[in-house]
Symmetry: C2
Subunit: 356 residues, 2 copies
């Protein structure tokens, strides 16, 4: 990892039950080295990471035609609890950044990881998170090539904060952004919404809330890249994280200055999510997801796009939830289950703190 990447041990040191992170693990000395050797390198070892640089040196894939375009993205993860049904902070941090790159029409290639550990963290929890990141990176086909660890004093952090940044090679030939959205475009949604946010809430002991629900946390690059490779005219992609489907659509409407028309009945929400939202006073439209996205596609390609999405497990319930109108007011309108039409706006504040 950055600053100190000597990797001499050939067999990883056994995990010591009850061992905790010390401030000195962040000091740049022997203990920092041990943390890197015992925890990070055994999990992520690859030529770029093992090269003992301050950073990773990376060869772009030779197949990229001409001067390739890159995508870069970053997210910090502060989710509580660190482990929840269907995922954990490490899985979230890998798939979250992979998904942001996918939304740029890019094939994710490389990730960095920046850990901010709280003094006193159980080393075993760190191992679990790192193991989960390794598995997630393998699933998503990315390499974790550089990293950094800091330790903050007890009471100045919260277990683990984790930042990932990612690089991908853009495969989309046209820009994917709100400005590319056209009147008449169909709005496709990759699956049911609200599971991640509710799963996090259910995992918070203080709520005493029982549920079988698991987070939808998953990588989205394969279905997205299939859309692009098979020539679907995709105009804009957005994953539905903080703020949920509602926030994503409002942002795209405002940026494109077009009217988005949504059909509430077409938006899949599982009955247990609906029930939990009713109890908690939440609107599933604004509840966070970590494995869902919307695609704005040319009307003529919509059915073909749905067929492509449905080939992938993560988007097997993809459906059309609306279309783009002619009005240039930048509003999202929704035909409700009751048949009335209302304007969808951003929530002003915080529905669910620290869900990612």
């Amino acid at each position: 990892m950055s600053d100190a990447t000597v990797f001499e041990t050939t067999c990883p040191v056994p995990r010591v039950p009850g061992a905790r992170v010390l401030l000195a693990h962040g000091g740049g000395g022997r203990l920092t080295q041990r943390l890197i050797e015992d925890v990070f390198l055994p999990a992520f070892g690859n030529p770029a990471l093992l090269a003992r640089h301050d950073g990773a040196v990376l060869d772009l894939p030779a197949a990229a035609p001409g001067s390739p375009r890159l995508a870069m993205s970053t997210d910090s993860y502060v989710v509580q609890p660190l482990f929840f049904p269907g995922g954990d902070i490490g899985r979230l941090a890998v798939f979250g950044t992979v998904n942001d790159l996918a939304m740029c029409g890019a094939r994710p290639l490389w990730l960095s990881a920046g850990f901010i550990l709280e003094e006193g963290l159980q080393l075993d929890d760190l191992h679990r998170v790192v193991d989960s990141m390794r598995a997630a990176a393998q699933v998503a086909g990315v390499l974790l090539v550089t990293g950094d660890t800091k330790v903050v004093d007890r009471g100045k952090g919260d277990g683990i904060f984790l930042n990932t940044a990612g690089i991908g090679v853009v495969e989309a030939t046209e820009p994917l952004c709100p400005a590319a959205v056209r009147p008449g475009d169909r709005i496709l949604l990759s699956g049911d919404v609200g599971r991640h946010g509710i799963a996090i809430l259910a995992a918070r002991e203080s709520l005493g809330f029982e549920s079988e629900l698991e987070s939808d946390c998953a990588p989205l690059s394969e279905p997205v890249l299939d859309l692009i490779r098979e020539g679907v005219r995709v105009h804009c992609l957005r994953d539905l994280t903080r703020g949920g489907l509602g926030a994503a659509l409002v942002e795209i409407a405002e940026a494109s200055r077009l009217r988005l028309m949504l059909d509430e009945r077409a938006v899949p929400v599982r009955s247990d999510v609906t029930a939990a939202c009713e109890i908690l006073g939440l609107d599933p439209l604004y509840v966070a997801n970590e494995g869902r996205f919307v695609a704005f596609v040319d009307a003529e390609d919509a059915e073909r796009a749905l067929a492509i999405l449905r080939r992938h497990v993560v988007s097997r319930n993809a459906c059309r939830i609306g279309s783009v109108g002619e009005a240039t007011d930048g509003l999202v309108t929704m035909q409700t289950r009751l048949g009335s039409t209302r304007v969808v706006d951003l929530p002003s504040g915080e529905q669910l703190p620290r869900i990612c």
Copy 2:
């Protein structure tokens, strides 16, 4: 910034004295949007950031011959206090990652920024940090192209934690790494050591320590790229952050499995740093720097390399501090001021917590 990048305001909203960060600023709704519009976009606005993607799409410079090699690096910054003589967490976060890329022989091009803010942070402090990042990015010739903001509850963070990741294009034609170090190589140091760590300590009120000292926090890419462009046979570069000169040399010795021979009298330390270290019981060899590096260069090129380094303000006091021996024991030995020779090892723990 990632997740929500609508930029509609043409004039930034005036700063409100005493305004603070709320949990809702991290919720992905209107307040997140306001934070992005009022704080981040006015500071960093550039086409990649303003494109309203989940990530930035980046064109590699056309001049790069063949398939370019990239460098990627990341660091999280948790320094306390946030503002100190000669810098602040924002300046540190820009130059720190720029320097890690430079140490890979790369020209730094793009940065991401991930903010973890503590609820209750003065918004004005955030503005100051962001303004400082903008100025630093301009000095270092990099663009901040994507970002993310999270807010954690009061008492679960410490004002601002800041991660930057960076991408550069590698200009070095040979690998720069400990494995490339050769017996006979000269070890060059770009200037006096220990100022950053001591400046941070002096800024911590609890020490009640008065000093004129400023951090050496500075970008190192220009002198490094000049060495490469002018054909100096550079074998390894390392900036001297956590753990200082001592840790950097020990890591390179262990990784190269060669003996590094250091002359203590040749290592420049300012008299006020020496005095502070004596009072505090610190060894300047292990005190952190944020604008210093060592270069391992072919013996025949050492004088020319020093002349090139001395053309740059940041490395005008560059000097030769040692050389690489024939022994393959991976040790760092130092001829002390008293004429004796001792082995330099890594400190086991933490000399100065949270200096970067």
